[in-house]
Amino acid sequence: MNAIASHKPAPAIPVTQSGVADVVAASKLGLVFNTNDGPVQALSNVDLTIGKGEFVSFIGPSGCGKTTLLRVIADLEKPTSGTIMVNGMTPEQARERRAYGYVFQAAALFPWRTIADNVALPLEIMGISKAERAERIRRTLELVNLAGFEKKYPWQLSGGMQQRASIARALAFDADLLLMDEPFGALDEIVRDHLNQQLLELWARTNKTICFVTHSIPEAVYLSTRIVVMSPRPGRVTDIIDTNLPRERPLDVRESPEFLAIAARVRDGLKAGHSYED
């Protein structure tokens, strides 16, 4: 069921006490799925704030609710308890205002559209004029290094290029928040390294807030300013780690002792969350 909400105008952005709206603010967030085998606690008591310009990774084993949390932020799932605000609004209002771009695990490009037309899709839906669309397509495809591939169809591109096109599609309408659900999970490690680097460059250039789900420890440490470690049954946050690596990160930062120390802490956090089930 795709319950698409009506287009009622959302109220003006309320401002939090501090005067600056957090991009994401969740408190005591919980979500219970009713499955055929009974209720499943997918998220439990999640407290989290994400400020503007942060790059936050969510890491944990499968079933820990990291994707679910991202989907709650995106209003693709409704929480069953607690509160969550996105840009100071409910997720639904934020979605209606097209506050975020979402990148899925697979590129999810429409096979019947060229790369340019795929990037144009959200722009068409949002009613942006043709001339403006062309300009934005040019700009975003350049941003992900896909200039020159406008006329190609998805199947004519490699997996990594397809995923870059889907990132371009998420960037095309200039939302300040980018939600990425294991976007490079299906790619091989060499391509993934390359895309990680490009993503960091893109983040530096655009100054967007990024929420990034992954199950790779090196990826999380390499990319993030903050790492949210989660564990399953019930899905919950077990640790939040600030990484103090410099913003400028060449790939070989991954051999530095600071990097390895953070990675070790993430690994410990994952182990702690897991220990009870063995």
Binding site: I4, E96, R98, L121, P122, I125, M126, Y153
Partner: protein, 292 residues
């Protein structure tokens, strides 16, 4: 073109074997009657003469391929296309009701499918019946439809087209429901993140995703439509159409006519399916389909 060549040789060989077997069967099936005929005439033809005679009876049990080909050629190319003896005329009569019926059936099928995809109550109450209808021989209604309409003075194209309509409606409805539901969850979620409206989801996602399903089901539907039109020509002793031609042949034991009509019907069927297939290919190409 390699794949085409790798097909032509085997298909050609098989068809050649078929033709040879056909001639052999013609001798076997027409032989007894020919022997009977010869005995009564007091003739004792040689082997070769006997074979030739089994292949040139006026009303053979199994006409030889060249007899069918001659009859087909004669009644297609040598008579005026609008005369009652022309196969083109009869094919056209059947084809016209097929076309009209198919067009309405496909349109109706698409419309119902759109309704089923958008209204839960329609989906839950109508869809099971549409699926069940695939398992019943609905073609059996054809004679009744024709006769009942004839009894209130409606004859000709309309009742035949009606039968073609309901035969082509079901496969299109089923295929189109499948097609409109074919978008992946991820694509639907994507549209939701854009806060797309229902019409936007429909036109930008569901419709393009459904087109391959539509064309696949229309191929089935157009063939069913033709069968419907042919069968609809049987009960009233219709004067024109492939079905009428078959029935007349059966009445007067004009086996060669029956076979020629069958050939005409098959050609029409292949042409119709090829036409739908071509439309599908063109659409696929326009939508950037990967060359198979």
């Amino acid at each position: 073109m390699d794949s085409l060549q790798s097909k032509i040789v085997p298909v050609g060989t098989l068809l050649a074997i078929l033709v040879v077997a056909w001639y052999a069967f013609a001798v076997m099936l027409n032989g007894p009657f020919q022997r009977d005929l010869d005995r009564r005439a007091g003739e004792t033809p040689g082997q070769l003469e006997f074979l030739m005679r089994t292949w040139s009876q006026p009303k053979p049990t199994l006409p030889a391929p060249h007899q069918v080909a001659q009859n087909f050629y004669k009644s297609t190319f040598t008579v005026k296309p609008w005369s009652n003896r022309s196969l083109i005329y009869h094919a056209w009569v059947t084809l016209s009701s097929t076309f009209v019926g198919f067009a309405f059936g496909a349109a109706l099928g698409i419309l119902i499918a759109v309704g089923i995809v958008h209204f839960a109550s329609l989906d839950r109450s109508l869809m099971p019946w549409i699926i069940t209808s695939q398992t019943i021989p609905i073609l059996a209604i054809a004679p009744m439809v024709v006769v009942v309409f004839a009894s209130i003075g409606i004859t000709g194209l309309f009742p035949k087209a009606l039968i073609s309509t309901y035969l082509s409606f079901f496969p299109v409805a089923v295929g189109m429901v499948k097609g409109l539901r074919s978008p992946e969850v991820m694509h639907l979620d994507l549209m939701r993140t854009y806060n797309a409206t229902r019409p936007q989801v429909f036109w930008k996602l569901r419709v393009p995703a459904s087109l391959p399903f539509l064309f696949a089901s229309m191929k089935v539907a157009v063939a069913a439509s033709l069968v419907g039109a042919i069968v609809a020509e049987l009960p009233t002793g219709a004067v024109a159409g492939i079905g009428a031609k078959l029935l007349n042949g059966a009445y007067y034991s004009q086996t060669i006519d029956i076979w020629a009509a069958l050939v005409a019907g098959s050609l029409v069927a292949v042409m119709l399916v090829a036409l739908v297939g071509l439309a599908g290919r063109i659409t696929d190409y326009a939508m950037g389909g990967r060359p198979a």
